[in-house]
Each structure stands twice: as C-alpha cells, then as structure tokens.
Amino acid sequence: MRAKYVMSEVFLGLWRNISMTIAMIITMAVSLSMLGAGLMLYNQVDVIEEFYQTNLEVVVYLERNIDQPTTDQIEAALKASDLVANYQYEDKEKALERFQETFKESPDLVKAVEADVLPSAFRVKMNDIADAPKLIKEFEGMTGVYQVTNQREILQQVFDILGGAQRLTLIVALVQGVAALMLVANTIQVAAYSRRREVAIMKLVGAPNWFVQAPFVLEAVFAAVIGSIFAFGTLIAAKFLVIDGQFADLFKLMPPITMQAILVLLPILVGVSAVISAITAWITLRFNIKV
C-alpha cells in the first residue's frame, strides 16, 4: 500500500521533470562507463603482468663473429648463475625465422635482412624477472656479449600507456561524476519543491522520516541504475566494436579483455552509483526538508 504510493510518486517525480531526469541519466552513464573503463584497464594491467611474468625473458645477444669457446664460456656462466631458471640458445637461422615472423607485415624489410646480419643469442628465463638488472650487470661486460636486453623494460612502456589511459578515464569519470551528483542534487531540490504540499502534510501528520524521504532517494537511485545499465551497454559495445574490432591487432600483443571482466563490472557500477546517488539525495533532503 505504502510501497505503491512511494513508487507512483517516484515515477511521477521523474516524469514531471523529464529533461532533468534524462540529463541525470546521461551524465551518470558517461561517468560510469569511464569508471568501468578505468577499472577494466586496472584489471588488464594485472592480467598482462601476470601473463608476462612467466614469459618474460632476458636476451643475451652475442657478438656476430663470436667463436665456439667464448660461446661455451658464456653458456657455462648462465648455467652457474642461480638467477637463471633456464635458457635456450638461438642461432642465426632461428633468429632470422623469428625476425621474419615478427615483421611479416613488411616484406621489403624481411627481404633486405640476411641470416648473417642477425646476432645469435641466449634467451634466458629468470627465476624472478625482477632480478633482471643484476643479471644484465653481470653479463654486459663479458667478452663475446654484444648486448643484454630486458623485455620487461619494453613492456614498461605498454604499462605506462595503459596507466595514462587509466588515469584519463578516471579523471573523466570523476568530473562527470561530480556533474551527475550536482544534477541529482538539483533534481531532488526541484522534486522537493513540487511536492512541498505533500511533504508538509506528511510531516504534519507524523509520517516517518524515511517515508517522507523515500520517493526522492528512490528517484536518484532509479536514475543511477538506469545510468549504470547504459554504461554497461557502452562497455560491451566497446569490447565488440573497438577491442575485438577496429583495434584488434593492437590488443593481440596482450591477453584479451574477457567478457567475464566486463560482466563483473555491472554489479560494481550499479552498486557504486546507487549508493552514492542515494547519499547525495539524502544529504540534499537534509537541507531542503527539515523535520
């Protein structure tokens, strides 16, 4: 009975102020999709780190004109080092194959390079990739070693880009979030004004505070839930159209963003937005409808 009254007041309130309701839902949807994207990137950095943790290598490139005894010497040093989990020798032919695979999109470049040009190398898997600098220091001066590279450093650039994108989405989420909450506060004020008669009478006859406040708070929560559903839709569309579509090649370098990673965002977005909107509405009411 009372629930029916509250719900009819909620929808009446939203409908009476429809343009504000739409503005509220749009800004919330933008804010929440940015928040969702930010969370997704955050999650993705973890996933990538974990993925490469086991696959990252330190590559010890050898001088082009190295002789067998020096190579054996370096191999012995790798075998002796307790930082090294295992290693693999890669001769010039193998290096060429890898090169051709990596640059198969640029046939001219592939044609220009001959096996002789490429250095042979030891590809080293570390016990802990974090110790890579130690190993590099140890081997870099060694005779016969041309260069030692750490793949983690290359990956660091990817992380930096992802981190930057994440910061950007979170800033947009925050700014849009603030705008959305201001709209919530404004909507509540307008609603409180248009329902001031009912509110005054309810308070006069002793309706409990939660009952007086419920229609307003639920208006904000309703807008938040609709906003998060739109945001969720946007994120799914982004996965199919952008990540799996236009920029599919870019995302091949890293493990894919799974559907599951997006699905878990729905309850998070709904929960976060509903709670924050409800609190905003409630605080606004404290100032507009005094006991």
Binding site: V205, G206, A207, P208, V291
Partner: protein
C-alpha cells in the same frame, strides 16, 4: 439537531476517557442555534484537571533574524480536555507558540512538555511519532488538491502505516462526524471553504489525537461557517481532546466563554478562565 456520538475508534493510540461526557452531553443542543456553548460544568472541569497535557515553563524563542524574541518567558499549563483560545495582535507570537508545540521550532530557553513527552529534548527521529499524538488545523486548510475528501483523510492514516482496512472503516465514520457524509468523493475544489476546513478537521481528528492545535481555523471563513466549525471543534473537545485555538474572532471567543490566553509581544498579558475577547 441530532447528536453524533464519537465512538472509540480502533485507531486510537492510547485509551482516554472523558469523565464529563455522560454529564455534559444532551442539554446544550438547543443552544447551538445561537452558539451559546456552555463551558463544561465545574465538577467536570476539575475532574478533567487530573492530568496536565501542556506545560510551557519559561519558554523563549528568538528567531535568528529577528530583533526581539517572538515568545518570551512564557509559562502556560493546560489540562486534559481544556479548550483554550490564544488571542492577541498580529505578530504577537501566537503561531510561533503553535510551531513550538508541533516541534517545528525549538525554543532557545525553557521546557515544553506535551502529554508525557519532553518536547524540548525530543530526538529528531522521534518527532514523527510525537506528531501523531497531535492534530493540526490551519487557516489555509492544507489539503491535497488531487485527492478527494476521503483520500485526504485516508492519507493521514496511510503515511503512518495504517492498513487500508482501517482507513476503509474509519474514514467514512469521521467524515460523517464532521458533517460531510455524502461528500466523501468530492475534490477540495468542489467543496466550499467551510467544507474544506471540515475535511482538515477530520484529518486532524482521525487519529484521535491527545491535542488539537488550530491556528486561525476560521480565518478564511464567513461568520456562519465559522460558527459551524466552532460547533465541530466544541464537539471534539467534549470527547476529551484538548484544543488550543488561535483566533482573531472576538464573536467566537465571547460566545464560547472558554479559557482565554492573551499574548502581546511574545508575552502573556492575560490568562482567564471563561474569558472574553476583551
């Protein structure tokens, strides 16, 4: 003119008995025509004095943006079942007293007790429950325009969580009591001022309040209609409900001859049993 008995309703919150009811009823109906409403008999009045309903002790209210207190060091004690007029010039502080009693405002100094409740120390969240023991009527009726008479009265029950079955039983009863039988389904704009005020009285009374506050309830009504509303309030008063009414209508005060409290500049200048407007 027939008498309407006010039956004990299932919604009443505390059981209250009026020791005078049996004695006073019956004799005065003929006198209604000229509105000479006799105050309750002496022994009855003292019987009602068993319990104080309102106690104001040294109450002062100074609004922040006002240069003088609107209510200053007021002491008032009102018994259960009393009918009290608050009179005085505009700006004297009468409405402020009503607001203090309703806990819409809080006094700066002093203590207010209504029934068993220390209003000055009432926690915020307990205010709604407190207000359920008070009925309220205003000059401007304060009805919901998009609800019928019956729905307006039912609203007061609905928002405090009474089941619909209670409203179905009680609302027609109380509308009948205020003389609106047959007009339950009219909207406020389809009712005259007096009839709208009857709806407001019905709404205020439907929960059988301990105390009924009326701030110039006849202020928007013509003299004849005012008299009808006064009859209604008198009848409610005789059920044991304490009534505190602010008015400017000297006619009503002089004919009712009830207790009169006159206020000027926030202070009580006269407190007289069976008083006149003066």
């Amino acid at each position: 003119m027939g008498h309407l008995t006010i039956r004990a309703s299932p919604v009443r919150m505390k059981s209250r008995r009026n020791p005078c009811a049996a004695v006073t009823y019956g004799a005065e109906s003929a006198e209604y025509a000229t509105l000479v409403l006799e105050p309750p008999d002496r022994p009855c009045a003292s019987a009602a004095r068993l319990r104080l309903v309102i106690q104001l002790e040294g109450v002062t209210k100074h609004y922040p943006r006002s240069n003088r207190p609107s209510v200053e060091d007021v002491n008032v004690f009102i018994d259960k079942g009393e009918f009290v007029f608050f009179i005085g010039p505009t700006g004297a502080g009468k409405s402020t007293m009503i607001k203090l009693l309703l806990r819409e405002e809080v006094p700066d100094k002093g203590k207010i007790t209504v029934g068993d409740t220390d209003v000055t120390r009432l926690r915020r969240w307990k205010v709604p429950a407190y207000r359920r023991s008070i009925g309220c009527v205003f000059q401007d009726f304060r009805l919901l325009p998009n609800r019928t008479a019956a729905e307006n009265v039912a609203f007061a029950l609905e928002v405090i969580g009474k089941p619909r079955s209670v409203a179905r039983r009680v609302v027609p009863e109380v509308l009948e009591l205020v003389g609106l039988g047959g007009k339950e389904h009219r909207y406020p704009h389809e009712l005259s001022g007096g009839e709208q005020q009857r709806v407001a009285v019905a709404r205020a009374f439907v929960n059988r309040p301990l105390l009924l506050l009326a701030d110039e309830p006849t202020g928007n009504l013509d003299p004849d209609t005012s008299i009808e509303i006064m009859r209604l309030l008198d009848r409610i008063s005789r059920t044991g409900t304490t009534i505190l009414m602010v008015t400017h209508d000297s006619n009503i005060v002089n004919q009712m001859r009830r207790r009169v409290i006159e206020i000027e500049n926030g202070q009580i200048v006269r407190d007289q049993a069976r008083g006149v407007y003066g």
